[in-house]
């Protein structure tokens, strides 16, 4: 296995009974890449992502994340990744500061470090006025930006983002992607799923899952060229429902 790859996946498979959710997928992700993980609902994205996060043991195949094995070293994996999803992020009934402090504690940051991080994040996100407010009183866009910052509070090598921008307004959505770029500049690998096809364009490379398999994997530019279309939306439509092609 090459060291320059932070994620390596080979023939990874997950079966639920007779149903094959993920069917022998293979790919590598180099460090610092923004890797877009696309696919229709039910194509197996969530299942694949869970295996890579160490939340679900594969049925067969191999995979390493940050150099750790997804079968045996799930605890190390969890320490070295960040995770954020649209559904699960922050504690609604805790304040901004309490959330930062709590997650800092979860990842074993020292008290001084947590304090430093809290100040840094409040400054970065310009939420000085809101730092003692409950999360539930904040607009969704702020929550999502804060959730992302917290997901990388322990400076993980990889961060997994599951539809991080769903329902967020267009300006905040773009601010969110600025944050993703900044993280990638610091050599954090970003593994992201989204239903916004314009966001697919912002990724370094895109993998498209169809029925548990990876149907295409390339840069957005190459994918568009390959399918002879103008936008990622069209690429998606062609790949996800090949039968509906005219």
């Amino acid at each position: 296995m090459d060291d320059k790859y932070i994620i390596t996946v080979k023939d990874l498979t997950k079966k639920f009974g007779s149903f094959i959710a993920v069917d022998k997928i293979s790919f590598e992700v180099p460090a610092g890449e923004i890797f877009g993980f696309l696919g229709a609902n039910g194509a197996g994205k969530t299942t694949a992502m869970r295996m890579l996060c160490g939340l679900s043991i594969p049925s067969s195949g191999t995979a390493t994340v940050a150099g750790f094995d997804v079968y045996k070293q799930t605890e190390q994996i969890k320490k070295n990744i960040g995770y954020m999803s649209q559904k699960f992020s922050l504690y609604e009934d805790l304040t901004v500061k309490e959330n930062i402090d709590f997650y800092g504690g979860v990842y074993g940051l020292s008290k001084e470090k947590r304090k430093e991080k809290t100040e840094f994040l409040i400054d970065l996100l310009k939420i000085e006025d809101a730092k003692n407010k409950l999360i539930k009183s904040l607009p969704l866009g702020w929550k999502q930006k804060l959730a992302f910052s917290i997901a990388i509070i322990h400076e993980p090598k990889i961060v997994f983002l599951d539809e991080p921008t769903g329902g967020v307004d267009p300006i905040t959505r773009r601010q969110f992607w600025d944050m993703i770029y900044e993280a990638a500049d610091r050599n954090v690998t970003v593994f992201v799923t989204t239903h916004y096809m314009d966001e697919a364009e912002y990724c370094s490379r895109i993998s498209m899952m169809v029925d548990g398999r990876i149907a295409a994997l390339d840069t957005p530019g190459n994918l568009k060229k390959q399918f002879g279309v103008e936008t990622m939306h069209e690429v998606f439509v062609k790949l996800a429902r090949p039968q509906s092609n005219e």
Binding site: N41, G42, V168, P170, D198, F236
Partner: protein
Amino acid sequence: MEYAVSVKNISKSFDETKAVDDISFDVKHGELFGFIGPDGAGKTTLFRMLTTLLLPGSGSAVVDGFDIVKDYKKIRSSVGYMPGRFSLYQDLSVEENLKFFARVFGTTIEKNYDLIKDIYIMLEPFNKRRAGQLSGGMKQKLALSCALIHRPDVLFLDEPTTGVDPVSRNEFWEMLGKLKNEGITILVSTPYMDEASKCDRIALMQKGKILDIGFLRDIIGKYGKKIYAVRSDNMHKLILDIRSDENTESVYSFGDFLHYTDKHGGIDIERMKNILMSEGHTNLTIQEINPGIEDCFMSLMNK
């Protein structure tokens, strides 16, 4: 009864937040009307008031000829409603769910089969499957079938496409188009700006207010600024460079382009190219484009 839905100065607050803030609009019979805006724009609260689930804080509204406060019982039998969350019985099968809702409205699947046929036909292979075990797209189709089963005059769909992949979303909008042809008035909310083009008319919503309302082309026509699409090999650097320029009014990523507006109502493209190339950008293209709905939305947000 000129309008299917007529709303006058409606407001609703929860504690101190104004979820819906003095909104007025009319929807014609048979219209497919879209409410577009992010989470927290007030779309759900608005729909809940119109479907009689919430009392308005102030203002009034008439749905299908009935007042939403006084005649709430009549509205409840004549409208169809699909809430934002998946709201069917997960432990009942596809068929049982549909039958249940048909009987709740005192009808049968057979009676209105022609209306839901196109949608239901995709579900029929899974008739015996529990609703909880369907994929996202299928759940959404089932929920729509259930909302339609009594052939409502007005259909309210609260974010039916949220979290649904682009292909399923396309299919869903095709279904809505067919329902519109059946004469059903449809009010639909969505956070996806690109879905604006599928509606007859739209209202752009943000923080409880309507930013703009009307035909898509009219809203775009009001944009009133020159907008340019810019790209180069290093997009991240490009956005930082343009953002730091003092003439820049706004710059946002749009897929593989940046959309750029300046403060002076237009730029000299060649001059800008030269400046950016001197900053080390390669394969640079700049062209004036027509604004899209998302450009309009962001511009309205900043006003």
